[in-house]
């Protein structure tokens, strides 16, 4: 597993006078586990929102599997294999948990999903995430933990090549964090590239092969988890000395 899956080149995004992303470049190998850390407001979510397409960057380019997706509509990026979970869960509240997964299976993964077996596939994803017992419940009534799992499950149902998990572990108990980490690890073993945004440091450090730290819209450090923890800039900006 090698070769470049995602390349972000000199990306900038501003909201009025506020520069959210300033000349960010990064590259992700196929099959890699990349951690994205940084203080609140440093541009992590803006970066992945630009990658998944709900926001368009002002300057710079995004290439996915060698193809320029900078101006591609978000639903086409989802079809191409970019999936994300949302930091604040956005379930399809009028639907059951199962139907929540049918949407990405029937749209994003349409060309890749076995036709007519959408429900089977949805159940398989729920099994993997550990939500089978909630399949027929209304998604609006889920607990926080289950709602975060649903976020992950829905992103998975899109059958992505690149999965971006945006603070999917926030607010989870330690044993649940371990559970989600194990799931992500399993996904990665099956060939899915993962970008993880997380504030739970031991989780990011344990999971990631490489970590990028953002501060004020710029990449201030990039390297192995060990080297990141040692970096003076990261300590000052984020970890706290």
């Amino acid at each position: 597993m090698s070769g470049e899956l995602l390349r972000v080149t000199r990306l900038s995004k501003r909201f009025g006078g506020f520069v959210a992303l300033d000349n960010v470049s990064l590259s992700v190998r196929a099959g890699e586990r990349l951690g994205l850390i940084g203080p609140n407001g440093s541009g992590k979510t803006t970066l992945i929102t630009c990658i998944s397409g709900a926001l368009y960057n002002d300057v710079g380019e995004i290439h996915f599997e060698g193809r320029d997706v900078t101006r591609l509509l978000p639903h086409l990026r989802a079809r191409a294999g970019i999936a994300r979970s949302f930091q604040i869960p956005k379930p399809f509240a009028s639907m059951t948990v199962l139907d929540n997964l049918r949407v990405p299976l029937e749209y994003a993964a349409r060309s890749r999903a076995a036709h007519g077996r959408v429900l089977d596939e949805a159940m398989r994803v729920l099994e993997l995430i550990g939500l089978v017992h909630r399949a027929h419940e209304n998604s609006a009534g889920l607990t926080q933990v289950d709602m975060r799992k649903l976020e992950l499950a829905r992103a998975l149902a899109a059958k992505p090549r690149l999965l971006i998990s945006d603070e999917v572990m926030a607010g989870l108990a330690p044993n649940e964090v371990a559970e989600v980490l194990a799931i992500l690890r399993k996904l990665n073993n099956s060939g899915i590239t993962i970008i993880m945004i997380e504030h739970i440091m031991h989780a990011v450090m344990r999971f990631s092969e490489r970590v990028i730290c953002l501060d004020a819209g710029q990449i201030i450090c990039e390297g192995t988890p060990e080297s990141i923890v040692q970096d003076a800039g990261v300590q000052r900006a984020y970890l706290g000395a």
Binding site: H75, A78, F86, P104
Partner: protein, 314 residues
Amino acid sequence: MKSAAFWGALAAIFAAGLALTGAVANEYYYNALYLILQAALMAIAWNILGGFTGYVNFGSAGFFAIGAYTTVALNKALGLPLPLLILAGGAVGGLVGLGLGYLTLRLKGVYFAIATLAMAIVIETLVINWSYVGGAKGTYILTPEKHLWFDSYIQMLFVVMLLLTLAAVAISRMLSSSRIGRGLAAIRDDEVAAECAGVPTLRLKLVSTTVMGAMMGVAGAPFPFFVTFVDPSSAFNLFIAVNAIAMPMIGGTAHWLGPVIGALLVGTTQEIVKVTVSSEMNVLIVGVMLVVFITLAPQGIVGLARKHLRRRKP
């Protein structure tokens, strides 16, 4: 509802409608039923965009009038038969729905709602200044002599409207349980999440506005023959738009059955009040019902029933 039961029920209702025309001669009943069915058709149409997709349309009267005035214009120009006029009304309504979608669907929430209202006013202004279809004075339509095997023309119109409404119910039900329906519901629940799940939101919203516009155009197309005199104030009546919103709200917007139940309940009450109390009171009825339902049962009658069912079966 099982598919066989659903189609059986539709067939039974249509048969009952046909049987009624053989048994009852009093034309009043067909008048009243026609109005209720017309309101039901409008409510079903509104619900496809407003209920399934979550975009509130205040311009329903505009689409209805497009259907009515398509009939007026084509009847005068070419003298087409009713089925073709209905098709034409649907086609023009659908096209305007598509156009409205292109122009306004980047707007969200209340801005979209205001844009639809503005569109209805623009169309009304155009019609007022179009003398060929009567302009502000309005125009008379002659009821055709022929009415198939029915005793009167209104009986035939009633059966036509019944058929159209049942077709709309079937379309609405198919749409809501299809892949497209799930896509629309995803847009309503969360548009950004829907896009990230691969839902082509703009295209689906255009499908939604087009189907809505076409159904409303179809609902308006037979209207000139029903009233025999059409002027902008009757075709663009705000009451049509208010009913189209109120009926799905009262019945429940998330389910295809909601607007049907709402229209039957509100429409029937209106007709009863119209003859027993006063014809002005029926406007008040909608207002009161709407307030009561929005405060006590925001999910409508269907929502209430679901809650009740869920409580009984733990």
